[in-house]
Symmetry: C2
Subunit: 333 residues, 2 copies
């Protein structure tokens, strides 16, 4: 049985000072975790992302680097579960592929090895729908068997997607070879409270909100028909918790929100929820900026997550963006 109950257990969240990390820490603490250790180098993670949790008596912040085994071995000592979040995403991979491959590949090897050596009972690995790739080939239902499309996609996006595939396969290797159970969750684009500026796709929400708040027309790239499929951070935190609790191991499932949106729908929704503003302006893609495109309308089904870990998203974009705006208005007041 690969089930890891939350109550009374110790969890390490590698890359924990993050949007998903802080939300998952709160989720695990709320469900009775004895201790949650947020392991982060603070290269991308921030004090801000975890400020709301810092005084929690069962939360520990551990400064450490996934490239340093001693840091990981220290952090995993006596832990029951490990959630592996630390990663460069496409934008940072574009700026620094060297560092990105370090963290996304060697960092995952180090974390898995530290988990194995420390007797951790279950690993949840944060993968991404980037494993299906980008470019003209990406369309329709992106269920879990869909291959990695790379034709016509920028190098950084494929480096990111391929690095996540490698992370997944390393998890499988550790399960098959060393008996360390794991669940892979392929997150779609995350958004929600404590949204950062590092995710290429989630930027749309933040950029639109900031423009509208300044009274400027929000920008829609292309004709606005491009699909995005987001997932609300609170839903992901719940998915992470349920992946530990479930008996599942050696499996990869999508975690996406209730429905995809087009970028035009998204910009209109954010404008409306921000209290209204100018009509969107249609612009071409900026040269030199990594914008990720697909071949057409796509949808990321999450039926397998329901079957395997009993999870389905609860928060739709109207509710999620409203929460994000409330947080931003409160947090930036």
């Amino acid at each position: 049985m690969a089930s890891m109950p939350i109550e009374g257990k110790v969890f390490v969240i590698v890359g924990g000072a993050s949007l998903v990390g802080s939300a998952t820490a709160a989720e695990l603490l709320d469900h009775g975790a004895a201790e949650v250790r947020l392991f982060d180098s603070f290269a991308f993670g921030s004090e801000e992302a975890i400020a709301h949790l810092r005084d929690h008596p069962r939360l520990k912040v551990v400064r450490g680097d996934v490239m340093r085994m001693p840091d990981l071995l220290d952090a995993m000592r006596g832990a029951d579960g490990a959630l592996l979040l630390a990663a460069y995403m496409t934008l940072s991979m574009d700026r620094d592929p060297w560092g990105g491959l370090d963290v996304n590949i060697r960092g995952v090897q180090n974390a898995l090895e530290a988990a194995r050596a420390s007797g951790v009972g279950k690993v949840v690995f944060a993968s991404s729908n980037a494993v299906y790739g980008y470019g003209p080939g990406v369309a329709g239902d992106l269920a879990e068997g869909v291959p990695l499309h790379s034709e016509g996609a920028p190098p950084a996006a494929i480096l990111y997607g391929a690095s996540k595939i490698i992370g997944e396969q390393l998890c499988r290797h550790y399960t098959h070879r060393h008996g360390l159970p794991h669940v892979v969750l392929r997150y779609s684009t995350v958004y929600g409270e404590r949204q950062h500026h590092r995710a290429a796709n989630a930027l749309y929400i933040i950029e639109t909100l900031e423009k509208v708040r300044r009274g400027e027309a929000p920008e829609v790239f292309g004709d606005g028909s491009e699909t995005k499929h987001f997932v609300y951070v609170g839903d992901l935190a719940r998915a992470n918790r349920m992946a530990f609790e479930s008996a599942a191991s050696d499996v990869a499932v999508n975690c996406s929100g209730p429905e995809p949106v087009t970028t035009l729908e998204l910009v209109r929704l954010v404008t409306e929820l921000a209290g209204g503003g100018p009509a969107p302006r249609f612009v071409g893609n900026e040269p030199g900026k990594v914008r990720l495109t697909s071949g057409g309308a796509f949808r990321i089904p999450h039926d397998k997550a329901r079957e395997v870990i009993g999870w389905a998203p609860k928060v739709d974009m109207r509710e999620g963006i409203a929460r994000l705006i409330r947080w931003k208005d409160g947090g930036n007041a």
Copy 2:
């Protein structure tokens, strides 16, 4: 113009003490290269593989490790072209994924960085049809736009394929960001003189030959209908040379032999060319052994290689296996 003529130029072959490396060295020397440097750690490479070249006055053997930048920077000083061959394949990746990801990813980063820093004029990167993956999804024509299928494939095979995708994308990154021209050649399964025992697919030829020579029945896994698409090492050596010479850059092309074969056809052909022997024995797949399967009949077209670098294979399997057998009989006499 990304053309790199061979005559009078200096080439480094990283991972050179190998089947493809030694054949390419001979090809480049025959075409007037001023110097060919075979860079190898001799972890997988062997003295045997290059014995026939050792006394060549324009050949230099350089012991070095792709994980050590000083070794690479020394080897690339004053070089005009670099061929990047060093890699773990699936079988060695299965035994040691840690070392495999080191060599196939960090090793490629190091080699590209050393090439850039040394002012190398063109890089040829040895990729693989493993970028199309394995398992049920792999069938039909595997032209260059086909995505990476991983569903149902063993971890090591996908680690290998994904590491090759990353190598290709690193080449693109160095071309786009640093102006270092490159051509990616996606080799299909290589065979020929100086065949080693490390390639999962090419093993079929060697194992069959050894069985037949011992008077034992050769083994066919499954029903023998599985496709393999080989390429003769001499054809690949020519492809490497032509990739340097051509004006092409920032492109990836398949290099495959004239036609695919089924494993049953292959075993029968080897038996016949070895002088006859017992009929093949049909066996199931051995547990614990990495055998790579596809979803059905497939073919790896090489039309794009013809368009882009003017290359097409010349040696069919009947001729190539006859040459391999002649070499083995001579070499092992």
